[in-house]
Amino acid sequence: MPITIAVIGNPNVGKTTLFNALTGLSQVTGNYPGVTVERKIGTIRLNGSTAHLVDLPGTYSLAARSPDEMIVVDVLLSQQTGEDPVDAVLAVVDATNLERNLYLVSQLKELGKPLVVALNMCDLADKRNIAIDTAVLSAELGAPVVRICAHKRVGIDELKTTLTRVIHEPIPPASKGPEFPGTLNSEVDALAQLLNDDAAGVGRHVPRLEVFRLLVDRGGYVEERITRGGNGISHHLEDSRQRASQNGSLAAVEARERYAWIRRVVAAGVVKPKTRATTSSDKIDAVLTHPIVGTLIFGAIMTVIFQAIFSWAGPLMDLIDKTFVAAGELAATALPEGMLQSLVQDGIIAGVGNVIIFLPQILVLMLFIAILEDCGYMARAAFLMDKLLSRCGLSGQSFIPMLSSFACAIPGVMATRTIGNRRDRITTILVAPLMSCSARLPVYTLMITAFIPETMLFGGWLNLQGIVLFAMYSVGIVVAIPVAWILKRTLLKGETPPFLLELPTYKLPLWGTIARRVYRHGKEFVVRAGTIIFAVIVIVWALAYFPHSGAITQQFDEERGSVGQAAISDDARAAALTDIDNKESAAHLRNSYFGRMGLAVEPVVRPLGWDWRIGMAAIASFPAREVIIATLGTIFALGSDVDEESESLKSYMQGATGNDGTKLFNIPVALSIMVFFALCCQCGATLAVIRRETQSIRWPVFAFSYMTILAYIAALLTYQAGMWAGWGANV
């Protein structure tokens, strides 16, 4: 059976980068804490044999206070049902900050498993004149220490060799770890005996390290788990704590002894400059984390990103657009007129094609997000947001999950595992889907390019379209703040937690990492278009095509006959026949199953300025947001009531008219659609993940309900305000 090695370390010390370097995998990495919130497994070859490598979420200590930290403890203690026990531990430490990193190592020593310490970021340590004697450090720690630089792939082979050696020839610890008072040790032993006793125990073997954590971590996850179900352990536990805490609080005793040991180890093996030099990161931070200047720079960076989304992606979008138009024309000529031609041309090509067009914009957005994350800027953005979020009862800790949600709400919801306080975690989970994910981008850009004028402002520096896009992305965070404020004062009352965030060192982005992230997001978008969006649009097409009444066809055939016999010019006849074709298409669409459902829905969406077609497109997009574009593409292709020469969806929408002959879309309608999509939870996958993460059906139902109501009210207000301002005729 392959051996299992756990990769563990403080947050943002490069565990996942090392994991990728060892396994050849490409798990997501980022230059900010909390990127990994679940363990990931890869395989490596060690001297001809296979080993499983488990990448664990970052943690400062084994005193679990949040779900992601508990994962670490469970895996290390082999408490995870159905998982192979851990045979060895690879601790990744930041060479520039050994004092803090060795705290976790001191706890790992107590596991009694083969341990290797990978000294990462040695290049930075060298730059700061921190001299580390690995041989001395190794002797002091009682475990081999290997210098590495994971992102440059330096020291990886030596690390593999050391891992092989340690696994096959375990070295007995040459040095002792921290020494705790005798009373504490004896209470741990007594409690371990009690817990592992058949009669009074918890029904499983409880390792000594877990008992230690149970005793020391008052209110921690271990205590919650062991005392759950009222098994009488709580009483014994309190007695033990009373007896053991003669030398002060147990947590303080632990910290004191561990840091005393760390000081001894560092004094022996590390030589540092007497004074800490001001680094370039410090100088940059003085500007970027400044409350006013930093916030202005943050706003400027975001503005540049949204301007670039329009200007950079345009040429490639035109190319894709032309390709799909050509494909539609090819389908029209290659297939005989009938339902199959309609399915391919009006359903698949008009539907899926109109979604794929937005791929370049997704790639540009992801490129910027990946660069900002990889260089370390995102942690500064979280720092800037802390003050704002703390006013609504959340801390900057909630900003990281919210930030992840700008790409996709699913990893964002999962990233809340780093939040220890359950109420804060649920509040963050409930507001994270308000952030504009990449699926909303196509909806925004379609509406913006079709209905927002391409006016240049501020002397030609800023495009109005880019500003509107920025505003739409801001809607989510602006609304999230009062929502969180209300939740924290009603359903999820609690104190605002203090926020401790380690600002990572700035570094040049690794282009390979960025390229992989951009490619991954692009692939996901195309896969979604080819799977779920394809399936939904074919169903929408079927509902919008059938029953395709013979009576309607016959009625318009008779009209065509009358026009054919009328004494009018050829041009007038051609125009009349086109008009009849359009009316027939519109009549079939209104008579379709989709049209009938839409007409029933229309009274509900009318106050938002929408007709039944927009209403049904919004409803069809509940499984996935991009479906609205595909649905509008299909609806306008099937019921083409506009000029035949208008071949793109944008042109169809600009020319579309309502029953009364007035334009269907105007600026208030476009804004109301965008606001609705910005705030509505139209993502089945996100709701499923919320259910999984909260272990309750109540929270996804609540999230869906409050977001839908909020979206409807906001869209209503937007439309009515736009009409009141006189933007309705301004297309």
């Binding site: 995870q80 996901e524 079927a542």
Partner: protein, 54 residues
Amino acid sequence: MSLEAIIVALIVGGCVFYFVRRLYRTFAGKAGGSCSCSDCPAKSPTDNAAQHHP
């Protein structure tokens, strides 16, 4: 029933089946459900741990 109708029925039927299956698997938390996102927990082989620690 014409060949054209059979082809259309097969495509539409296949899409209905795929959509319903996917929806079911999403809410049942099974692999292959949920979105196509590579970070999707339903696709990870090692995602169970957090379920035990809500």
